[in-house]
Symmetry: C2
């Protein structure tokens, strides 16, 4: 293949932000500075939208102090976009690349972003334009194919785990039924992370429902009743993407005017409707007075001042590696392979083809879900624990022997 | 007055838990161990409910390692209660005190708890029983009288500030209108804390609504429209206790079956109804597509692994001081006086009469609210900043000059 061109590069951040998407951005910026093949690095403001409209900021001039502050900031520092480029949109992108002598395209995002990079790369091939299009994975959902896990997941998992640790203690303190609705349209990884903070045998969440297992409202209420009878309280983690036995989203059944985005997805986050519905069902069917429901919403992906050290480091390395791969290959997505676990947890980075990551998503594997479909297994805990690092240790005194 | 009796003591935690109510508990435990007048310290499980039912745990045997872990745990480690004792209930409490030779009663809670301590203390006086009843303030609402601020507020304020810092960056990244509903039935202190993370001139929250200022839905929507036209986005912090111009709670107007607790209060937290109502109003009246609303719910008071260092320290000192005061006086509530601000921030602890704290609550002072009633003032920031300590610094690159 041809030598890496001496040319300009552009980096963009797409889709829902995460707590470490900016670490990946900084990984790209710092690595690009190490290679004279990359003359200038442009930041695309609001992703592909910023490219077609030529809204670029100069990333060559950002000091390392500010870069470190960017790396620890949640959300997408360049701005993001939900645009899903079609062929005509991609043609416009390519024209801008040609006009600005951009031969390196780094796109941090989910599977849709990998797909966008893939389409543009193929179009560039068709006209013999040497474009190096690289996708850097990010998603709190942890649902990308090939990679062991996704940057963004570990940080969101800490938020969810700490939230449930605290909420379970709150529920011990003032017993009742508590329902927490957690992000995750199709994949239950983030909802499963609610289990990571459990320390005592009877710690909640006592029930965990993920999109991978359908549940009827009757079964849901019966499960809650079982736990409530046994413990006098019950904490439940529910994915916003849970489905009824007919395969339809609970959230969709509830939404009178369900909002649909450019990708054809129903709005799930940013509304408390599902939580309130479940709460009302449990309250009326079980006759328990103290039933509460919270929807964690956008805090899960954007809470400031909270990063998984491992996650932030890996996100940055993914950014570094995208640039390194771009000097050797014409396209790809950065992926991670786990080479150890527990105390020996370690990661190797590798390149995979864009088409391996584009479009499709990964679900929570069967071995991570219990046979009843209402909790996670020890295998899941073993898989996810290294991604958050140690979590807050807590104590509860109220269950000690009476004197 | 009489010398401090050599007798047993009981400590309880009442009402909604906070992130540092356990620091106050540990403050009581460690200080009690220093004074031979206190023979045994009992922990009342689920507050007054645990006293009348004689559900006590032995706090003399808890190791210091575990105590430190208790101090950093959110929620009430002894369990809490929403019971509001009447005279007959208080008589039962007093009987248990007599039977167990309990002459020291430490009660960590809000103004209702101060009132309970006050009632029991007067009843003990009536029968010449030397009871030392002390209230230790706690509330995320920061609404107790006399004290400069309340333990529990600084930690909840960090949660709210970090949430808004992140949410505002998220909203910069994917512009639209974002509404965040924050705890606070009558006092707007916690909602006001949403402003503490602002760093740039155009950082959100751009509008802040507190229970102290009524707002009509039309005014609310008009305010949002103004900001949206100016910035192309808008982040709004709304107290769950906001009221319409007729003085009625918005949340009450919405709730078909508003749940009322033992204190006659309508349930506000643990439901997304207010957020969803405001979101629908804004969406339909302004025709803006991307409108989202989150209700922070119980996370604000129970999130694990997050404490304000200042708040945790002060909470512990309040516990220490309650014990010290009990050796000198027969009743009181621990209060804090600010003796410096900014870099010179310092606190002195003092004793105030229970009746000064019982029943009534404090509102956000006028000088902390702007004249339009839709934001906080610089005076508020000056007041509240020392209570959280330094917050996460963030960067956004997308508003830099274009190249």
């Amino acid at each position: 293949m041809a030598d890496a061109p001496k040319a300009n590069a552009v980096v963009g951040q797409s889709g829902g932000p995460t707590g470490v998407i900016n670490s990946s951005l900084v990984g790209v910026i710092e690595e690009a500075r190490r290679h004279p093949e990359i003359e200038h690095l442009y930041g695309a403001v609001h992703a592909v939208n910023g490219i077609v409209n030529e809204q670029f900021v100069d990333l060559d001039v950002i000091s390392s102090d500010i870069l470190e502050s960017v790396a620890s900031s949640p959300s997408a520092a360049l701005g993001s976009s939900r645009d899903k480029p079609d062929k005509e949109y991609c043609e416009r992108l390519l024209k801008v690349f040609q006009r600005r002598n951009i031969h390196y395209f780094f796109y941090i995002g989910g599977n849709d972003s990998a797909n966008t990079a893939h389409i543009i790369n193929e179009m560039a091939d068709d006209i013999n334009y040497d474009l190096r299009a690289f996708h850097i994975p990010k998603t709190v959902d942890n649902d990308l194919l090939v990679t062991d896990h996704c940057p963004g997941y570990g940080t969101a998992a800490i938020f969810v785990a700490n939230a449930l640790t605290g909420d379970d203690l709150d529920n011990r303190s003032l017993p009742g039924i508590k329902i927490d609705v957690i992000m995750g349209r199709d994949a239950g990884f983030l909802t499963a992370a609610s289990a990571l903070g459990r320390q005592r045998d009877d710690d909640g969440p006592h029930l965990i429902y993920v999109p991978e297992r359908a549940v009827t409202i009757d079964r849901f209420v019966a499960d809650v009743e079982d736990v409530y009878k046994r413990l006098g309280r019950c904490v439940i983690a529910v994915s916003e993407g849970i489905k009824d036995s007919d395969g339809e989203l609970w959230a969709k059944k509830l939404a009178e005017n369900a909002e649909v985005d450019a990708h054809g997805n129903v709005q799930l986050s940013g509304t408390g409707a599902l939580a309130d519905f479940l709460s009302t069902q449990v309250k009326s069917k079980l006759g328990v007075k103290r039933v509460r429901a919270d929807t964690f919403g956008y805090l899960q992906r954007s809470f400031a001042g909270l990063q998984s050290t491992v996650d932030a480091y890996e996100a940055r390395c993914c950014g570094n590696n995208a640039v390194k791969y771009a000097l050797e290959y014409t396209s790809g997505s950065v992926a991670m392979k786990r080479t150890g676990n527990g105390d020996d947890y370690a990661i190797e980075y590798f390149r995979t083809e864009l088409c391996n990551v584009a479009e499709h998503t990964k679900s929570l594997p069967d071995e991570f879900i219990n046979s009843e479909g209402n909790n996670v297994t020890a295998e899941f805990i073993k898989y996810a624990s290294p991604l958050t690092g140690a979590l807050a240790k807590t104590e509860f005194l109220g269950d000690r022997p009476r004197i």
